[in-house]
Amino acid sequence: MTDYPIQDPKRTNEMPTKSASFPKPSSVQIAPGTEAAQAAYPYYMQFAPEDDERFWFYNSMHFPEPMHVFDMVTAEAAYCALGSSNTRVHCLPTTLGIDYRIANGRVYIGGNAVTDPDEIARRTEEFQKRAFYYYENWERLYDEWKTKMRALIREAQALPPLSLPEFEPLENVHAGKGIASNHYLLDIYHKTLEGYFRMWHHHFEMLLLGYGAYMVFFDFCKKAFPEITDQTIARMVAGFEAEIFRPDEEIKRLARKAVELGLDGDFRDGLSANEILASLARKGEAGKNWLDELETSRDPWFNVNVGDGFYHYHRSWNDDLTLPFSALPGYIAKIKAGENIDRPVEQLKAERQKLIDGYRDLLGTDEERAAYDQMITLACRVFPYVEGHKFYCEHWYTNLFFNKIREYGALLAEHGLLEDAEDIFHLSRYEVEQAIIDVMTSWSNGSPTRGAEQFKAKIAERRDAIRTWAKLESPPALGPVPDIIDDPAIVMLWGITRENLDVWLSGPADADGNEIRGFAASNGVVEGTARVIKSVQEIGRLKDGDILVCQVTNPTWAPVFQKISAAVSDIGGSMSHAAIVAREYGLPAVVGTGQATARIQDGQRIRVDGARGVVTLLG
């Protein structure tokens, strides 16, 4: 493959820009004492001297916390799939895939722009044969996509439990099976990994094309109506039936059921999920009815993570009922107060139609109106995928994957290799395979496993490293700043533009000011107490009326939105699910600030102006 420079040298000559630059990758010092933990990541994700010539940015949108070694499988699988979709499947004209590196547990990524006009022309021809086919057949392909994903999920669910019986079951012997149980440990592990890699291919199968069609409409609106807000454009395209709204709807349904069945007294703030479940179990028929309804909701709708699904510890609601159960008393209180907690879908639809028609009317010519119609029609056709895929991929499938790995953790712990099943995530996927073979061998030979000591030392080292890295300030970007960011994937998925980078570069300069700027994601002005939530485990600290300040807002936190008064995030665009949820709840939100969690103190009073995209520090 050609080595494509990230900058177009011609353009650099024409427009000599300020020598703006972030620190070079080679100048990033691995925190003392964590060198071995850093070395545990595979060689192909380590920075090398030649990486100094390129621009990298910290992907805090997807990986806001230091990565456990095992969790890097998500980056591997995702970038492998994203890259093949861009480079080889749809042949995006101006960009190849995304390279990734890791330093101090933080994932940095860099684009691979195509700048040679001949090459762009060649790729354009290919792109139109491929992408246009998808656009033309979008609805059918998306239907088929869902079928494929459900099959993939069923496959993962069907992977057998791990078992190493003392003696091979007699029926296997009589059946002449010929293969002993230990072999399946390796087989299932490979299938688990293989399924995960495959899922990520499907994840990207339609994603860039979906975002692209949205961006076309977005750009048109920005040109035709230079002062239109991003959120208004998003509202014109947003769907209302996307799967990602469903989990929250299920909690509301269960809240209504609880009131109907006269069980509302059992749901009180401060009670744990287990305490509530125990008291319902004593409530006879009504209690049983509600618990049955709970089971209906759980499969599949509680397969949502409390995070973005990229970390093994972003457990699903099914694994940890704390979040849905903490939301129930609030909804129940609202129902009893006679409030309507239904999503006003018909009203939302009517409002959307009013916006679409209204902006159409404001256009200057029939020609523009015709172009507008074409663009919004395409955007509305493809957007359900952009909204819907996450539930299947990042949530449902990812839960199954990490839980299967957890089973291996338990197995390794049972065979003395790990002290705790969760420690498996401190091993790389290659080391896990070694440990599995250690267990297989031990079972075969009747000898003890051999890795306990080395794994124990490594795990301790890596656990400490994660703690150290979590406290480090990571540069938002590394290397020379490109003149323009022309990579549609980077602009669309990460919202990174040249203007953003200038803000990042000037970050310390305006650090004396009391304003933080970001994308205006949801309208309204609110003053309140900032609750800086640096990881999902801290969600419980949120009190009624707090302003959520986090690195990345997440749509599965939706039930939290009934509690908070506003949301602020470091990363995210105005079309993110978080922004959509904030708009639905009518909460002001400013996203993509780059620095909110670093500059806002926990407990500080702040003002969030969601229409202007400004957060003001008040004291």
Partner: protein, 366 residues
């Protein structure tokens, strides 16, 4: 004037005095009457037709002007010497027009005209005798839309009493005979008998807040937003640039207030006792407070939109919020000219295949 008293509508004044060829109440006129009431007068009448509140008033129609000039011309020729002028001979244009302007300012109006003006003024101020009014020229020809045409800028604010009203009307008329105006007419060989001017006499609004509003963004040309600029006190402070106004941008379709730039409005202009205007220093607290509430902004924006809708094109508007009552008035609405006159390339054209639009993104954004 009674401070805080709400302005009464000319509907009531009209019960006292009916519109004639000399005097026309705003409620009786519209854009179609421009030849006799001028652009400004027609526009104010038109706003009332659209159901928008404007401070009540009447137009001294071109008939009054013509009667006045005819009388003057009969005394001593006035039009002929002007038509004889060479626009390149500034010295003689200067001397002749100065003499004519002096005559206009000195001469009394024909009695019947003067009577009608005074009666109408008294009716306009029936609720508050000698209430202050604005006296503004209202040009009648298409050319008059051009700022180079004379008289357009002539506006006298806070005029009190029938005598002063009469004087200011004649001042407006005299402005038609400024050097610039006459040179312009001579260069274009414009017959003097077609020259006429109407004058608007309108109750002043004692403004708590006043300013301007654009139903198309003056900075970007965006048709989907209304930009409102306002400051404490009379609008003259904003128009003259003495005060940096607060600035808001409101989305037409969603009513979202997307920009709120609240400035330090250190002074305001207020009516002075006995007529005229004075600067009043403001304490820091009110200087930095928004001069309109959100509710007022949304209301004002809706009024701007109905003016735009009525005229069928974007408008530049002057407005005021009355002290005490909080009532919103439009003082003037003009078609937006800067962006409308630009030749705009379409933002996008329809494609034979809608899919081709995606190449705007995937084909590179440069």
């Amino acid at each position: 004037m009674v401070r805080g008293a709400s302005l009464r509508f000319s509907a009531e004044a009209r019960q006292l005095v009916e519109s004639t060829d000399t005097i026309s109440w705003f409620a009786d006129i519209g854009l179609g009457d421009r030849p006799r009431v001028g652009g400004k007068g027609g526009s104010l009448g038109e706003l009332m037709k659209a159901g928008i509140d404007v401070p009540p008033g009447f137009v001294v129609c071109t008939g009054a002007f013509e009667a006045f000039i005819r009388a003057l011309d009969a005394e001593e020729p006035l039009r002929a010497p002007i038509e004889a002028l060479d626009p390149n001979n500034l010295a003689s244009v200067g001397a002749v027009t100065k003499a004519i302007r002096d005559r206009i300012l000195r001469a009394a109006m024909p009695t019947d005209v003067e009577d009608e003006v005074q009666t109408a003024y008294a009716a306009l101020c029936a609720d508050a005798p000698n209430a202050p009014v604005a006296v503004r020229s209202s040009a009648t020809t298409e050319d008059a839309e051009d700022a180079s045409f004379a008289g357009l800028q002539d506006t006298y604010l806070w005029v009190i009493g029938g005598d002063d009203v009469s004087t200011m009307i004649r001042s407006c008329w005299a402005s038609l005979y400024s050097v610039e105006s006459v040179c312009y007419r001579r260069r274009h060989d414009f017959p003097e008998k077609n020259v006429a001017m109407a004058v608007v006499v309108q109750r002043m609004v004692d403004a708590r807040t006043a300013g301007v509003m654009f139903t198309r963004s003056p900075t970007t040309g965006d048709r989907s937003v209304v930009t409102i600029e306002g400051a404490w006190g009379l609008g003259s402070a904003v128009v003259s640039g003495e005060v940096t106004p607060d600035r808001w941008v409101i989305a037409k379709l969603t009513d979202e207030i997307t920009v709120r730039d609240i400035s330090n409005k250190h002074i305001k202009q207020a009516p002075k006792k006995g007529g005229g205007v004075e600067d009043v220093e403001l304490p820091d607290e009110s200087a930095r407070a928004p001069s309109l509430s959100d509710q007022e902004l949304i209301k004002l924006k809706a009024i701007g939109q109905s003016a735009e809708k009525h005229y069928g094109r974007p408008q530049d508007i002057e407005w005021a919020v009355e002290n005490g009552t909080g009532k919103l008035y439009l003082l003037q609405s003009r078609p937006e000219t800067v962006w409308s006159s630009k030749e705009e390339a379409p933002v996008a054209k329809p494609q034979s295949d809608p899919m081709k639009h995606v190449m705007n993104i995937f084909g590179g954004r440069r």
